[in-house]
Amino acid sequence: MDFIQTLKIALLALRTNKMRSFLTMLGIIIGIAAVIAMMAVGTGASYVISQQIASIGSNIILVLPGSTTSGGLRTGTGGAQTLSSDDAKAVMAECPSVAYAAGTVRTSGQIVSGNMNWSSVVMGATPELFDIREWPVVAGRSISQQDVDGAIKVCLLGQTVAENLFGAADPIGNIIRIKKIPFTVIGVLDRKGQSPQGQDQDDSVFVPLRTAQRNLVRSQRTGIVSSIIVKAKNEELINKAEKEIQALLNQRHRITNSKESDFSTRNLSEILAVAEQSSKAMSLLLGAVASISLIVGGIGIMNIMLVSVTERTREIGIRMAIGAKKNDILLQFMTEAVLLTMLGGVIGIALGAGGATVVSRLLGWPTMISIQSITIAFVFSAVVGIFFGFYPAKKAAGLNPIDALRYE
């Protein structure tokens, strides 16, 4: 008996009991839809995280000033002003595993351009920072070493700032005032998106480091930076670079016991990798929960197929009498079960994908439907059909034609 014929018979049988077929499929539909939707949410979350990893730049180590104790009062991390531009230069020059190091200062203030104004983060930066952050300039030029050395009053705008101050107009060459000090706009940075903390990274203005140190931030000594961002040469060298930085800075700060270090280092990629892993584990867990409903759906299929075999005993008898072999009957009922689950699978995939889209629209969650999850769902639904369809089909194939023909 050819496959098309088997398929036709199975379709006819399913069509005959439309409502029943639909209700039977419902278990599979819900299961598959749940799996697809859960995986979409999970994959979306880990995709966002990996995008964020990419947005900070890869192989990044952050050096932050430590705490100081003055008169018995200890400040928190970053409270002290222990890191300098020279530290950053030394890290870049002397640590063999380090590709770039950039000292930065950070402040915020009102930025005014003509009759527009906007409050934003202002960063003092050296040219290396944009290499480290892998953050190119899309218009104009970047901050140069001369700008830094000469403490020139120029600035680069993030996309959000540029849009808020200039709209669609070209900001390059215009004068803006940061904390009432005039700066010339020399360039606009590419769009960067959200930081892992959910901040808009495009809502920032960059000025040459020394300009910021002199004019925008107050410090006890000259040349103080609020953090040093370091890029290791490659992924394998991150841990080594971190150790080299610690050793160098301890030496420079004349600290013999590393527990008393007046700075701390943070490996950002590592933190995010952990976050990504946990979100992957979460989506796997959600998928596992959803697949339980698939098993329940499969049991429903088995139940209905058993009823169907009993109902159609006479038909099975007729088929056997006129020459159907055991395998023909087995295949017929298996096909029916698999068709049920696969049809349910397809509807479930559509429903799950639709559900994921609705979730991302309504709740603003990032969702992503991967080909992989669709394939898994489809194969899984077929396997459920084969697994749970086998017993009823076996029962049908094992009927004695004489008894089956006599069945009322």
Binding site: M1, L12, I318, R319, A321, I322, G323, K325, L405
Partner: protein, 216 residues
């Protein structure tokens, strides 16, 4: 029946020659159904032999028996046993489906069989749209379609009124004249009278085997 051993047939032996029209008669429990099941390769004798078309079917697997039924036998039942919700022509094609024929060959042969039973034009009617007599004709067409060695009819007129019964029996007679071997089980003497030979069973034994009313 349970576990108790019961001899449905005892010392039964007969030959059916190709082209014969045989009626098997007897009261219920006489063994005629059991012999029909054996003749139809639906059941195997616990002892003894059954040669169909010169082939011993004893010791065959269920799949081999299915194949024999498919190729060499045609069944006509009392209750028609057509697949509901399936057009007449597809019911007729069914044995050929299991024989593995292509849909083109199936359709061609089924159309010939439909014509033989006088149902041309009713191909796409569902069984529920046909009269009892027409349904039985579809069943006969289904039995004919694979050019079987024997057509086995089990009370073929049992569910039909007398005038329709007559039609069906005339059809069987006509088919027999074309050379088709027919073995029919019935308990009605006037139906059995159409057959050229009548075998009567009682208590699992053959009590008479006669050519058209003549007791040998």
């Amino acid at each position: 029946m349970g576990d108790q051993k019961f001899e449905a047939l005892k010392g039964v032996s007969f030959d059916v020659v190709a082209g014969e029209f045989v009626a098997i008669m007897g009261a219920s429990g006489s063994g005629k159904s059991t012999s029909m099941n054996i003749l139809g390769c639906l059941d195997l004798p616990t002892s003894g032999r059954y040669l169909l078309d010169g082939q011993d079917v004893g010791g065959m697997t269920t799949d081999q028996l299915a194949d024999i039924r498919n190729k060499k036998l045609g069944f006509v039942f009392q209750g028609f046993n057509l697949l509901a919700r399936t057009p007449a022509i597809e019911n007729v094609e069914l044995p050929l489906v299991y024989a593995g024929l292509s849909s083109k060959e199936r359709r061609a042969q089924a159309l010939i069989a439909m014509e033989q039973v006088g149902l041309s034009g009713k191909e796409n009617n569902h069984p529920s749209q046909l009269s009892g007599g027409q349904q039985q004709r579809v069943a006969i067409a289904r039995a004919l379609v694979n050019n079987p060695a024997v057509i086995l009819a089990d009370e073929p007129t049992g569910n039909l009124d007398s005038s329709t019964s007559e039609e069906i029996m005339n059809l069987f007679t006509a088919l027999n004249r074309q050379g088709i071997t027919i073995i029919m089980v019935t308990h009605e003497h006037d139906v059995a009278a159409y057959a050229g030979r009548q075998i009567t069973f009682r208590d699992g034994r053959i009590v008479s085997d006669s050519l058209t009313g003549q007791v040998i």
